[in-house]
């Protein structure tokens, strides 16, 4: 693990260039340019609003600006998660010519997918920040939780990307599996709704490691309260172990990449 991090550090210029290339290609020759980064979160938020309006007709609870703010806050990291995982899973196969022709730590590929999606999120972030005060969010000490929560989301996402990129190199159907799971994951993840809506099933939903993190983000940014530490600890544990395990797994398979891709 330490070895892996040292190699990445040694190749940071390469990591930078590969990430830069991805970003450059994604935004070059696109009509909307940087608007792409904002589009996904907006669509997710709009979908959330529609769902919530429909739900409020049945339950009779009105939809508040805070509800919409909460969706926005969670839509952004969710969009990051989905995009990173999508690109990350095929990152090795998409770069097969480099994998077979040049020697450098292959971890660079999934990690650069994460960084590229992170860049998208960074573009969309100011938009959310501008909107949030109107949704009733205010500054509070709890806000300090949000960078930490984001970091955990990133580590968790990176872990998944690393595992799936390697797996997809050996079994090309992994990509479709990930695609399918991602499509339906939004129903099992509290993005468009809050876990509190689930009543006694709340804890089951929180077993999804990303759920406590999203809820925590909403608490710290939208509600100005500290997240539930027990569940956060649960997510941290999973994220850290996943990341560690993924790197070990990846490096164990790495020598076989060139001949299997």
């Amino acid at each position: 693990m330490r070895e892996a991090l040292r190699e990445l550090l040694k190749n940071r210029e390469l990591l930078y260039m590969i990430t830069w290339r991805e970003i450059r290609i994604r935004y070059k020759q696109s009509v909307m340019g940087l608007l792409w980064a904002v589009l996904m979160p907006i669509i997710i938020t709009s979908a959330g609003v529609v769902v919530r309006l429909a739900a409020s007709r049945i339950s009779g609870h009105p939809v508040t600006p805070a509800d919409i703010g909460a969706i926005g806050v969670k839509a952004l990291p969710w969009a990051f998660f989905v995009s990173a995982l999508r690109f990350g899973t095929s990152s090795l196969t998409a770069n097969s010519s480099l994998v077979t022709k040049i020697k450098f730590p292959r971890l660079i590929f999934p990690i650069s997918s994460v960084l590229t999606s992170l860049f998208d999120m960074a573009i969309a972030l100011p938009v959310i920040l501008l909107v949030l005060p109107f949704a009733g969010a205010r500054l509070s000490p709890a806000l300090l939780w949000s960078p930490l929560l984001l970091l955990i989301i990133i580590v968790f996402t990176a872990g998944l990307c690393i595992v799936f990129s390697a797996a997809n190199l050996f079994f090309r159907d992994i990509k479709y599996l990930v695609e399918v799971v991602l499509t339906f994951a939004i129903f099992f993840t509290p993005v468009l709704y809050d876990v509190s809506l689930a009543g006694k099933w709340r804890d089951v939903l929180l077993l999804n490691p990303i759920a406590p993190l999203l809820e925590g983000l909403n608490a710290s940014i939208g509600l100005g309260s500290a997240p539930g530490t027990a569940w956060i600890a649960y997510s941290v544990t999973i994220a850290v172990f996943l990341f560690w395990g993924s790197v070990v797994f990846f490096r164990r398979l790495e020598p076989r990449f060139a001949e299997s891709v």
Binding site: E13, L14, Y16, M17, I18, W20, R21, R24, I25, K28, Q29, N95, S97, L98, T100, K101, I102, K103, F104, F170, F171, R172, D173, I174, L177, P255, R256, A258, E259, S260
Partner: protein
Amino acid sequence: MRDSKDYAFRMDHVFKRFRRGDQHDSLRDLIPSLVKRAVRKDRERVLAPQEFWVLNDVSFDVKKGETLGIIGHNGAGKSTMLKHLSGIMVPTRGNIEVNGRLSALIEVGAGFHPDLTGRENVFLNGVILGMTRAEVRRKFDEIVDFAGLEEFIDTPVKRYSSGMFARLGFSVAAHLEPDILVIDEVLSVGDFAFQRKGIEKMRAIAKSGATVIFVSHNLQAVAEFCQRGILLERGRVIEDGPIDQVIRRYLDTSVSHGEQTSRGPVRAVSTTIAGLSGEIGLFPSGTKARIKVSLEATAPVEKVAVVVDLLDSAFHEVFNTSSERLGRRPLTLAAGERAECEFELNLHLGAGTYYLGVYLYRYDTEREYDHVFPATSFVVTNDRDTRGAANLYPVVTRFETKDAVQTASLRAQRPA
């Protein structure tokens, strides 16, 4: 090992196993193969029916500053060996030691993206090949200048011709400053002038003390550039020594290894070129030699003529003739019938590698029955130092100052 620092690298009993055919590429094939694998032991040494050794007990070492050429037929394991040297692949068994910064140039323009400009790709490719951005920045002008692409450097490379693309890719790689440079066939890119330039550049790199490993089908380039050669055949080193000796051995084994189209009812079965006393492979310029082409009809066929086509190492035509054009009537063959055609000629050729192509051709209907290229190849040596494909047997008959010329002519005019 005490003297291991003298070595740029060494391979020690390296084996690599490959699978023929499809590997399991989707999850549902995984389970059966896992079970099979668990049942069988000693995976390191045993070959399954679908497997073969692409490297089979390869051992050799290369001293610092040496230039080594690796030759062998397609599929002999050359590229696989380079991939092991550069660490892209890991051997099934055996050890590889590398001393120093190694740059492998296995493909020009690796990582080039068509939508990015030449400038952007130079940086990307440079960093991918192991330079820092600062290094690329420092050498940028030199790189662009070497490729001769100043005007197009801000154009996306998708608008480049394939020659421009290759030139830029090679140019980036040529400006690395490695201790060990591994080059696979990349010099076959670009036009002739650029290839020359590339070889000159490699020579400069070698002169600066770097170890260079060069893999190429261009035998003349290998012969010119390398001191030592290794000949691979089916994953084994079958010859290791001075480059001339290795090339000769390669040519011995390379009769009739070319691409054959055989679209017709008759095919060229074998082609040989040999001196009058039977020597093959290497000929001093001016040697008399015989080209022998054997053909066999698989179905009845009419009016077959044999065309021979001689090309130099850059694949420029040097000479072309045919049985028909030399006044021999074409042959009509029954199914299964064999024939032989023999040309005798003088190899008044310059030093270099030459390739012989053979066509079976019908002149009146302009039908090509078969085409083999290269049907065989050979090397010509010349003790006169000349360039070019022809040996015109030059001697310098006079080279002196004007005064000497005048006195000489005056002396000639003066009646004795």
